[in-house]
Each structure stands twice: as structure tokens, then as C-alpha cells.
């Protein structure tokens, strides 16, 4: 009896000792670093704190989605950088998904040439470091574009030049009404969908959901244009002469070459990984499933939509989530070509000006952690929705 008790205590003690040592070691390292940091900051005459976020930043940013100039605060500059990071990540994710799906399906094409071309696309772009691809697009390919005065024109409404891509600007009146109508359309689609699912599961009735959804997505916003005073006009970019030799475009929106190069490289690089996921997902659906679906009389589209894709998606989504996360993190390479993302604006310029290395690097890393975690929470939710619901 005594022996047993002793033994249990002994095991507890045995478990406690390594844990205590690890925690103590970690704590002492943290304390050591913290004291050093305090001494170093004291020597430089700065104290730890986030008050600097309210100070005037007094530097300019070349590309901003919200109003910003040198008189705004560091906090505002951080927000500009964050929005730019989110913008390029969103563009990258959008195009990487489309290209990835196309290339992934092409790899399985029964057309030998298409399959080979897709395979080589993957092999080439996956095995060159992303940073080199960004450099290539930015310093080599996009620098070969013409000057503004002889820019490549797309039907005279959009111009591609060495200084960027000029596209028409949307000018809305009553934009809020339009936005509300789009939200209303999505809510309507949600209800149509759940109604159709119910009808199908209870009575076996098929309702053309896709057609109805598309129609409501077009019709409901269209009503606002016709009756509720929403208008949309475009402001086209026009060539303007600044001096005898210098031209530029006035009006419209200018998409800077840094953004184009970054979005191109990110989406082409990530598309190769997504393509491999898509391929593995489709290959992962067993042949028996397709044959079983065909034998109960589903047509080709129904087989793809109702049998193959739901199962393939379940294999595709988790690794693709990882690729989306990677793309978001890789967008930090923007700093290499001076696209004003959070790393360049905040961990670069702002850090250089304030010298507050610890605060700024911590905020930057925390931001990326938050972005990563929010994407993975969203994708986990989506993944759960797609998972098999066993009844």
C-alpha cells in the first residue's frame, strides 16, 4: 500500500521535474532578453510603448486604398500597408485558384499535348524560387513595356504602360442602395437553395437552382438601376502631356507595376501547388463511385456535380487552405520590389524612422498570425460544411 502510493507520487514528481525545468528555462530566457531590451532601450532614450502609433508619420506611400498622406499617423500607415497586403493576397488567391483548377484538370486531360503542357507548367513554375519570379516579372518583363505615349491600348479605354496599367474608374451614385441590393440577392439565393434542397430531399423534385440564382443575382441589382436611382459611369484614362517629352494618363485608376508583378508571380507560383491538389483530389475519387452514379441514371453533369466534386473537394480543400496561407505569407516578398505592403511600410520605413524594433516587429508578426489564423478558421468552417454528414 505504502509502496504503491509512493510510486504514484514518484511518477507525478517524475512528470513534474522536466516540465518545471522547461518552463523555468523558457522564463529565464525571456527575462534575460527583456532586461537586456530594457537596458538597450534605456541607452537609446526610448521607452517601450505603442504611443508612437498616434504620431505623425511624415512619409508618403505610393499606393493606397484609403486616404493617406504624410500628415497621417503611423497607425494609419499601418492600416494602409495591411490593406495593401490583403488586396494583393485576395487578387493572388482569386487567380491562383482559377489557374490551379484549370491546370489541375488539364493534367488529367485525355489530350496528351494538353496534359504535357500542364505538367511542364507545374514543373517549371514550382521549382523556381518565388522571389526570382517576382524579380523576373518586375525587373525584366514589365520593364519591357512601352512608355505612356505609346502604351498598349485596349479599345482606348485601358492602357498598359511601363508605369502601370490604367483602367477606367467606376463612378457610382447611390452606391449603398446597389450594395444592399446585392446583399439582398445573396440572401434570396440562400433561401432558394435551402428550399430546393428540402424539395429534393423530401419529394425528389429538381429545381434549376443555378439558373434561378444567376437570374436573381442579375435582376435584383438591375432593378435598382432602373427604379431606385443608381447610376454607374466610367472615368476613362486620357493621355496628358506634362512636358515636351513626359507623358502620363489623367483620370481612371492606375494599377502600379509592383502590384501587377507581385500578383502575377504569386498566382502563377501558387497555382502549381493548387493544380497538384486538384489533380490528387479528382484522382482520389474512386472509379466505382462514378460507375455507381452512372448506373442509377445520373447524367454526366449530375455525376460531376453531385458525386465527383463533393468527394474531390473534401480531399482538395485542406491542402489548398495551406496554399492560401502560404500565398498570404509570401505576399510579404512585396518588400523586395517596393510594393507598399505591411512589411515595407511598417517593418521597413516606419521602423527606420522610429527605431522601435521590438514593438513594430511584434505588431507585424502578430498581424500575420491573425491573418493566418482567420483564414484557417474560415477554411475549417467551410471544410466542416463540405465533410460527410453521416445520418
Amino acid at each position: 500500500m505504502i509502496f504503491k502510493k509512493f510510486n504514484i507520487e514518484n511518477k507525478k514528481a517524475r512528470d513534474l521535474i522536466p516540465q518545471a525545468i522547461t518552463v523555468l528555462a523558457l522564463l529565464s530566457i525571456i527575462i534575460y532578453f527583456a532586461t537586456n531590451a530594457q537596458i538597450n532601450m534605456g541607452n537609446r532614450g526610448i521607452s517601450f510603448g505603442f504611443g508612437f502609433l498616434n504620431q505623425e508619420a511624415s512619409f508618403d506611400i505610393t499606393f493606397s486604398m484609403i486616404e493617406y498622406d504624410g500628415s497621417h499617423s503611423y497607425g494609419r500607415a499601418f492600416l494602409v500597408g495591411l490593406l495593401n497586403t490583403i488586396l494583393v493576397s485576395a487578387i493572388g488567391i482569386f487567380f491562383a485558384t482559377i489557374m490551379g483548377v484549370i491546370v489541375g484538370i488539364s493534367r488529367l486531360s485525355d489530350n496528351y499535348l494538353i496534359a504535357k503542357v500542364a505538367e511542364w507548367y507545374v514543373e517549371i513554375f514550382r521549382n523556381i524560387p518565388l522571389i526570382l519570379q517576382i524579380f523576373f516579372w518586375y525587373f525584366a518583363a514589365l520593364r519591357a513595356l512601352p512608355l505612356p505615349e505609346n502604351g498598349i491600348s485596349f479599345y482606348d479605354i485601358s492602357f498598359l504602360t511601363i508605369k502601370g496599367w490604367y483602367v477606367p474608374k467606376f463612378i457610382w451614385t447611390n452606391f449603398n442602395v446597389f450594395l444592399l441590393s446585392v446583399i439582398a440577392a445573396f440572401i434570396a439565393i440562400y433561401f432558394i437553395n435551402s428550399y430546393a434542397t428540402k424539395q429534393r430531399e423530401q419529394f425528389g423534385k429538381q429545381i434549376p437552382v443555378t439558373t434561378i440564382s444567376l437570374a436573381s443575382l442579375i435582376l435584383i441589382p438591375l432593378i435598382t438601376f432602373l427604379f431606385l436611382g443608381v447610376t454607374l459611369t466610367f472615368e476613362y484614362p486620357v493621355l496628358k502631356q506634362l512636358s515636351p517629352t513626359v507623358f502620363t494618363y489623367a483620370g481612371g485608376v492606375s494599377i502600379i507595376p509592383e502590384l501587377i508583378a507581385l500578383a502575377l508571380a504569386l498566382s502563377m507560383y501558387t497555382a502549381t501547388f493548387i493544380a497538384e491538389n486538384v489533380r490528387a483530389g479528382i484522382l482520389g475519387v474512386s472509379k466505382g463511385q462514378k460507375e455507381a452514379a452512372a448506373s442509377i441514371g445520373l447524367n454526366k453533369n449530375q455525376i460531376l456535380k453531385l458525386v465527383v466534386m463533393p468527394q474531390a473537394l473534401r480531399i482538395i480543400i485542406p491542402p489548398t487552405t495551406n496554399q492560401y496561407l502560404n500565398l498570404t505569407k509570401n505576399s510579404s516578398l512585396a518588400a523586395a520590389i517596393a510594393y507598399p505592403d505591411i512589411v515595407l511600410v511598417f517593418a521597413g520605413t516606419a521602423l527606420m524612422q522610429t527605431g522601435r524594433a521590438i514593438e513594430i516587429i511584434s505588431i507585424t508578426m502578430l498581424t500575420y498570425l491573425t491573418l493566418s489564423i482567420s483564414i484557417s478558421i474560415f477554411m475549417n468552417w467551410y471544410n466542416k460544411k463540405m465533410a460527410i454528414k453521416e445520418k
Binding site: D15, M41, A357, S372
Partner: protein, 412 residues
């Protein structure tokens, strides 16, 4: 209605030759157009002659699409590139685009390119200026390492390759000593040889290291250190002791959630703040620590996959033999788990090699960084394309070889 009968086995003799002729004609037209800039169909209106190859090829492919023709060549063709109208169009587009893109590429890479000479003025052609690569080649390989001392880097790598090469041919027992030497002795000998400072070798500071050799040095050391740290972290994450488990999870997720570039920034500007005033750690070593910790987190996740894949019986069997935690892991669990995840490990190492160019953010210049330096040299402006194509090719060869190797491991 059936003015033109559907291609079938009966009219094979008439349809197949006509179809093949039309397909060949359309390809020939595009080929001659692309390579000799001569338009066979110039007598036709421009709109028509532009689309004619496509139309001819499409009709040709339609005519030769004969099921079970009995002609082996036709059957293979139909099955692989001509199974329906849509596929025939895709095939034609692919072939035309490939043919159209060959001449400009060939011109730029070889025909119009300049190979001879030693300054930018020698590049008179419209194509690539390979003189740039030739002149800067030493810098691209060795960075700013003094020319007279470069034999030391060469020797270090030659010894490395020699040891690896020889170890393939010696017996199992000797191989063990080779591996031990390679892991525990050689890295430090090699780094001593390259940095110098003793044995009569001139000291070369790490700021002068660079080029492709720096890529290899950083990759090699990061691989060497990140592997054991990754294994320990993986074991920690699967540990039954909560404090150790949560610390491991926190450590792994922290590194995996942030981009490498911010970790490098941290090593450059934030880490020195954490050290006592006046201590100085070499930039290269700081970068190495950053990359090692970063990749160790990824390595830990790969190893954890292997640990999870092992059946529970292995743990129970080891415990029933009276083995403790460390003996169980070292002798039973890890050897099996690591064998399971060799492809994953290879992929992590591949990612590591692809990540090394990022060290330019802290001012170390490997291949991509040296090209950035060379292309801004006033005497060599406008050479970005050549430089990055060259760097891309070099990295592609290295990474492609590694990925093929890991795919082979996966298959076996």
C-alpha cells in the same frame, strides 16, 4: 442529306489521306510563317488567311477521326490528341502556340545572342547578352570572396562531394563512420577552411561570402541543425506532459504563422536589442539561427505526421519490453517514423533551398542578390532579363533534381 458521309472504316482510304494532308498543310503553314516569315496563303484575304490553318486543321482532324480504323498510327493519334472536336481545337491551338513561340525564344537565347567579348559594348545583337553572365560568373558563384582564395570554397565542396560519392561504394559498417564524419566533423572543418584565420589561411569575413556557394552553405547548415530541433519539437508536441506540449505547440505555430521575411527582419533589427549591450553576433550566424528555427517548425510538423502514422502497438510493445521514453523513441519509434516521412523531409529541404534567396533583406547576397548588384552596375545596366533567366535556370536545375529525387523516394 448525307452529302459528305461520316468518316468511318468504309471510306478510310479516301478520308484519311485527305485529312492527314490538311492537318500537315495547316501545321506547315504556321511553321513556315513562324520560321521564315513567309505566308503560304498570302493570296487569300487577310482575315481568311489568318484563320485558315485553324480551319484546315480542324477539318483534317475531323476527317481522320475514324473509330477502330485498324491503322495503328491513326488510332493512337485519335485516342491521344483527337478524341472529339473540342480536343482537336485544343491540340491545334497548342501546336500553333508552341511553333509560334519557338523562333523568338531561339533568337533570344542563341541566334541573336552574344557570347564573345568582355564588356557591354560587345553585345550588338538583339538577343541575350550572355557576356554579362560570363564576366560576372565568378561573382555569381562566390560573391565578393577574394579571387585568389576561391580555391578554398572549391576544395570544401569537392571534399564534400568526394565523401558523399565514396560513401555509396563502401560497406555498411564503414558508411556509418562516413555519415558521422559528414554530420559532426566536416561542417566545422569546411567552415574553418572557408572563413580562414588560422593554419596560414587568410581570414575572409562572412560579409564577403555570397553567390551560389552561400546558398549551399546556408542550406547545408540549416538542414543540419533544423532536423534535430524539428524532431525534438515533434516529440514535444506529442508529449503527455502539458507544459512541454503547449510550449512546443506555441513555438511551432508561431513560426509557421509568420512569413520568413519577418523572421529575418527580426534577426536583423530586433534580436540585437535582446542581447547585452556591446555583444555582436555575426550577421550570417543570426540569419542561420532564424532560418533554422523557421524550418525546424515545418520539419516538426512533417515528423509529427510520421509519429501519428505509427500504430499504437509499436509504443506498447516497446514499453512492454521495459524501455523508457528516450530509449523507446530512439530505438523503436523514430527509426520507423522517419522512414515513413522521408518524402516530406525532402520537400521541406526543397522549400528551404527555395527560401535562401530571401536573405537579401538583411544584406547578404547569394545568387539572386548578386544579380541585383550586378544589374545596377553602371557599366551593365539593362541586363536584368539575362541575370534572372540565368538564376532561374540554375535554381530550376537544383530544385527539379531534388523534387525528382523525392518523387522517386515516394514511389519506392
Amino acid at each position: 442529306m448525307n452529302l459528305i458521309a461520316k468518316p468511318s472504316k468504309e471510306n478510310l482510304k479516301t478520308y484519311a489521306p485527305i485529312g492527314l494532308f490538311l492537318v500537315s498543310l495547316s501545321i506547315l503553314d504556321v511553321f513556315i510563317n513562324a520560321f521564315f516569315n513567309f505566308n503560304l496563303m498570302a493570296f487569300l484575304p487577310s482575315q481568311l488567311s489568318y484563320f485558315l490553318p485553324l480551319i484546315l486543321g480542324f477539318i483534317g482532324f475531323y476527317l481522320i477521326r475514324i473509330e477502330f480504323s485498324g491503322v495503328r498510327f491513326l488510332d493512337i493519334l485519335n485516342k491521344n490528341i483527337n478524341s472529339n472536336n473540342f480536343n482537336a481545337l485544343l491540340t491545334l491551338f497548342t501546336i500553333f502556340i508552341i511553333i509560334k513561340s519557338i523562333p523568338p525564344m531561339l533568337d533570344w537565347f542563341i541566334l541573336e545572342a552574344n557570347f564573345l567579348g568582355n564588356s557591354k559594348d560587345d553585345c550588338t545583337g538583339d538577343g541575350a547578352c550572355w557576356v554579362f553572365i560570363k564576366v560576372w560568373f565568378n561573382r555569381f558563384m562566390y560573391g565578393l570572396y577574394p579571387d585568389a582564395e576561391q580555391w578554398r570554397i572549391n576544395t570544401a565542396f569537392l571534399i564534400l562531394f568526394a565523401i558523399v560519392g565514396v560513401s555509396f561504394f563502401v560497406s555498411e559498417k564503414l558508411k556509418k563512420y562516413f555519415v558521422l564524419f559528414l554530420v559532426f566533423v566536416f561542417p566545422f572543418l569546411g567552415i574553418k577552411l572557408i572563413s580562414g584565420g588560422s593554419f596560414g589561411l587568410e581570414y575572409v569575413e562572412s560579409a564577403a561570402w555570397g553567390g551560389l556557394s552561400l546558398t549551399f552553405i546556408i542550406s547545408a547548415f540549416a538542414i543540419l541543425f533544423c532536423f534535430p530541433i524539428g524532431v525534438i519539437l515533434a516529440l514535444g508536441r506529442r508529449s503527455s506532459l502539458p507544459a512541454i506540449r503547449y510550449i512546443s505547440i506555441g513555438f511551432i505555430e508561431l513560426w509557421r504563422g509568420v512569413p520568413l521575411i519577418t523572421v529575418l527582419f527580426m534577426s536583423a533589427v530586433m534580436f540585437p536589442m535582446f542581447l547585452p549591450d556591446g555583444t555582436f553576433i555575426d550577421k550570417l550566424i543570426r540569419v542561420l539561427i532564424a532560418i533554422t528555427l523557421f524550418e525546424a517548425a515545418y520539419m516538426a510538423e512533417v515528423v509529427r505526421g510520421g509519429l501519428q502514422a505509427l500504430p499504437k502497438g509499436q509504443y506498447e510493445a516497446a514499453k512492454s519490453l521495459g524501455m523508457g521514453y528516450w530509449r523507446m523513441n530512439a530505438l523503436i519509434i523514430l527509426p520507423q517514423a522517419l522512414k515513413l516521412v522521408i518524402p516530406g523531409i525532402a520537400n521541406t529541404l526543397l522549400a528551404l533551398v527555395k527560401d535562401t534567396p530571401l536573405i537579401f533583406v538583411v544584406g547578404l547576397m547569394e545568387l539572386a542578390g548578386m544579380i541585383g548588384l550586378a544589374k545596377t552596375n553602371p557599366k551593365w545596366l539593362g541586363m536584368a532579363m539575362e541575370g534572372y533567366v540565368f538564376a532561374g535556370l540554375v535554381f530550376w536545375v537544383i530544385c527539379y533534381a531534388m523534387s525528382r529525387y523525392s518523387q522517386n523516394l515516394e514511389k519506392n
